[in-house]
């Protein structure tokens, strides 16, 4: 039993830290938000150069065959720095699906993800279906050799900057299609999420697809969708951990330095004990994130689901508590837009809600 990261992993994180320290601080983040940009091609290229996109990909696609503990470490750094780039939607979710369905064109697309040249977004969730990744109101009907697609996908992470979407639809069971963003009949309503990451609602109105748009076999995508979502969830849990670590530093620092009534406010027991409870919750969240990163790739899907749901539910609840309590302990300054705390609180809210919120995972955990 050990909880260690390898030397290679530590080196990877260090180089990512260095790159972000040079090129992405809170002011950069604020500037990007002001311009309503969720993606910076220069930053994306430098991240690709570091190898963090290729890291989890199979060797055949030019990757390094990494596992989910690599993804967790990378995600934690991206969360710590508030980087809005569509890392999870591409390198974690889309890459997993493309690799799982196989085929020549998917292999090319995978390789393109690895070097940061193409971007995808996986569209599962639908309006009115809350957190159900197997929502099937989007329909694909056979027409000639190809398909006609109709439906509406909700809050698709990374869809604002993707060139193509991986769309789940009912074609006699759960089925995945690769749909170019500029195909006729596709409407993409882009927006930024609370924390600046990009997403979109996508409407498919009689979209005509070639036979080659089908990913894998019709009607058999359920397991792939659930596994992809679980991997995404594990990555977001790790992302939250980085954000939480930053919130801890900010809050501890504030408790030590802010004085009222002639003394540092951290010397008031009511605040000190509140902080201690958060620190305990952090250790618990960290343990669950570690387990999720190990279990995300487990072939035993029941064990995987149990661990991912436990982690997503626990880290979700802890994140909410961190958000509320850290603002309260900061007082007025925590309410301002120019102070970084709020950005982390929003990052945590987004992570908490995507790929199944706390209630969804608590329920799934209980049912397993």
């Amino acid at each position: 039993m050990n909880f260690d990261y390898s030397e290679e992993q530590k080196m990877l994180v260090q180089s990512l830290e260095r790159t972000l320290a040079k090129s992405y601080d809170f002011e950069t983040y604020r500037g990007q938000l002001a311009e309503k940009a969720s993606h910076d091609p220069a930053l994306w290229a430098s991240l690709a150069e570091l190898g963090i996109m290729a890291m989890p990909l199979p060797e055949a696609a030019g990757g390094f065959d990494g596992d989910h503990t690599d993804i967790a470490l990378i995600s934690t750094e991206l969360g710590r720095r508030l980087v809005p780039e569509p890392y999870v939607s591409n390198v974690v979710v889309a890459a997993y699906i493309l690799n799982a369905v196989g085929g020549d064109s998917a292999a090319d697309d995978l390789a393109a993800i690895g070097v940061g040249e193409k971007r995808f977004a996986a569209a599962f969730y639908e309006p009115g279906e809350r957190h159900n990744p197997l929502a099937m109101n989007t329909k694909a009907e056979k027409s000639g050799d190809g398909w006609t697609l109709n439906g509406h996908k909700a809050v698709v992470l990374g869809a604002d900057t993707a060139g193509a979407f991986i769309v789940s639809a009912d074609a006699g069971g759960a089925t995945l299609f690769l749909v170019p963003a500029d195909a006729d009949g596709v409407t993409v309503r882009t927006y930024q999420l609370l924390d600046g990451r990009g997403a979109a609602d996508i409407i498919f109105d009689n979209v005509t697809l070639d036979a080659s748009a089908l990913l894998g076999e019709a009607g058999s995508a359920e397991d792939i969708i659930l596994a992809a979502v679980d991997r995404g969830a594990a990555a977001l849990v790790a992302d939250s951990l980085g954000a939480i670590e930053e919130v801890i530093e900010m809050t501890k620092d504030y408790l030590r330095t802010r004085t009222q009534f002639g003394r540092p406010i951290g010397s008031f027991q009511v605040l000190a004990h509140r902080m201690v409870d958060l620190l305990i919750d952090y250790e618990q969240a960290k343990s669950m994130s570690m387990e999720a990163s190990v279990e995300a790739t487990n072939d035993d899907s029941a064990a995987r689901k149990k661990a991912i749901s436990a982690a997503k539910a626990k880290v979700g609840a802890v994140s909410r508590k961190f958000g509320k309590d850290s603002i309260q302990m900061h007082g007025g300054i925590g309410m301002t837009d120019e102070y970084a705390l709020g950005a982390y609180v929003k990052r945590l809210l987004v992570n908490e809600t995507l790929f199944g919120d706390t209630d969804y995972h608590l329920e799934r955990f209980g049912a397993l």
Partner: protein, 399 residues
């Protein structure tokens, strides 16, 4: 990162399971599994079996009868004991006094007392808390005045767990009333509870059980050779003793066992014609505590692995104590809720040896509320959770 047991750890667990299934007496297992009160004889019989096997004092140095188990192995042992219904040896002699004697006692004391601790023949009680000295332990007032080759002890200890069975009690006593700081006038002394002037009075707790006691000392003559270490250095030994409980501090084994019995209870109870365990609102409470325990188990293992590498776990052991007690309390609370109306009939001795009344509800239901009430103590003893939070905030915030 590898979260499962190593081959060596798995085979150690197999050895433990084999030993427990061969050696644990049926009646003891029955009492323990059903959450009844163990008798003095049951405690001592099991302690003796472990002593004969050489497993009653696993964490002691090998030359004094330790097993040489690593922290992870000890945790495996702890967990398997709970799972299989083996009582844990009471901590007072083995985990508290033993290490103090080994580190600070003299050879005579070790020769005289360690064998009785290993075999469980001597029943030791702990004499620390007093009516006016709880969280502020250093304000204790029980006096020991040197008189030739004896000390004369006067005062009162309280919350003495199972002191009604005690042969001996190790006490913190004041030997220098004029010391500059309260901590510097305290000594660590061993008192034969069969001496004249020692009186044990029961305290019945709100769950109806007799577990704790007051111990009164009136002009009790204690031979000076029963002083451990140096006079007025007792506070140092006490701090050492209290740090010695880290490994089992989170109560993982016990809570895992309670989770199993909670699920069993919730499967047997019905709500709207369906098992309670399938009810949405109950299940979400159950899932929450199960996830918390799952996280705690891993957090605990992270600490054990670090301890094994010789790293100081720092504030993590206090964190484990806090969250471990909260999880355990929550489990007992849910067992009481799951029991429904039959949590209410007050039958504190139900099912104990010698109890012959007619049971209302099932035994698990009858014991649920007393257990809930009894386990309020676990966030109070061993340094209350507020004291633990103070320790953590001092280390991590500097306040």
């Amino acid at each position: 990162m590898e979260l499962s047991l190593t081959e060596a750890q798995a085979s150690f667990r197999d050895d433990v399971v084999t030993f427990l299934s061969e050696s644990l007496p049926e009646d003891i297992k029955e009492t323990q599994k059903s959450g009844g009160h163990l008798t003095k004889d049951q405690h001592q019989r099991w302690h003796k079996i472990l002593g004969d096997k050489g497993w009653s004092t696993p964490l002691w140095p090998k030359e004094h009868g330790g097993t040489g188990w690593s922290p992870v192995e000890y945790a495996i042992w702890d967990e398997e004991c709970y799972r299989m219904g083996a009582p844990r040896v009471l901590p007072f002699s083995v985990s508290m006094l033993g290490p103090v004697l080994i580190n600070f006692g003299n050879d005579e004391q070790r020769e005289r007392f360690l064998p009785g601790i290993r075999s469980g023949e001597d029943w030791w009680a702990q004499g620390f808390s007093e009516p006016g000295a709880g969280s502020d332990l250093a304000s204790l007032k029980t006096m020991a005045v040197r008189d030739g080759d004896h000390y004369i002890v006067n005062g009162q200890k309280t919350w003495t767990t199972l002191g009604q069975h005690g042969d001996w009690i190790f006490c913190l006593v004041r030997t220098d009333a004029s010391a500059a700081k309260p901590q510097t006038g305290i000594s660590f002394i061993l008192i034969d509870m069969r001496s004249p002037g020692v009186e044990v009075r029961p305290i019945i707790t709100l769950d109806g059980s007799h577990e704790v006691n007051e111990v009164w000392f009136t002009d009790v003559k204690v031979p000076a050779e029963n002083l451990v270490g140096q006079e007025n250095m007792g506070w140092t030994y006490a701090k050492f003793l209290l740090q010695n409980e880290r490994i089992g501090i989170a109560g993982i084994g016990q809570s895992k066992e309670q989770l199993v019995s909670l699920k069993r209870l919730a499967a047997a109870e019905k709500k709207n014609g369906k098992p309670l365990v399938e009810d949405g609102s109950f299940r979400s409470k159950l899932s929450e505590v199960e996830i918390e325990l799952r996280a705690l188990d891993l957090t605990n293992k992270r600490m054990l692995v670090e301890t094994e590498r010789g790293m100081d776990p720092g504030p993590v052991s206090s964190m484990l104590k806090i969250r471990g007690s909260e999880v355990a309390q929550r489990l007992y609370e849910l067992k009481m809720e799951a029991s429904g109306l039959y949590a209410l009939p007050f039958q504190p001795e139900a099912g104990d040896p010698g109890w012959n009344d007619e049971l209302a509800g099932t035994l698990a239901q009858a014991r649920s509320a007393p257990h809930y009430l009894n386990t309020r103590k676990i966030s109070i003893f061993g340094g209350s959770n507020e004291i633990q939070r103070g320790i953590i905030s001092k280390m991590m915030l500097g306040f």
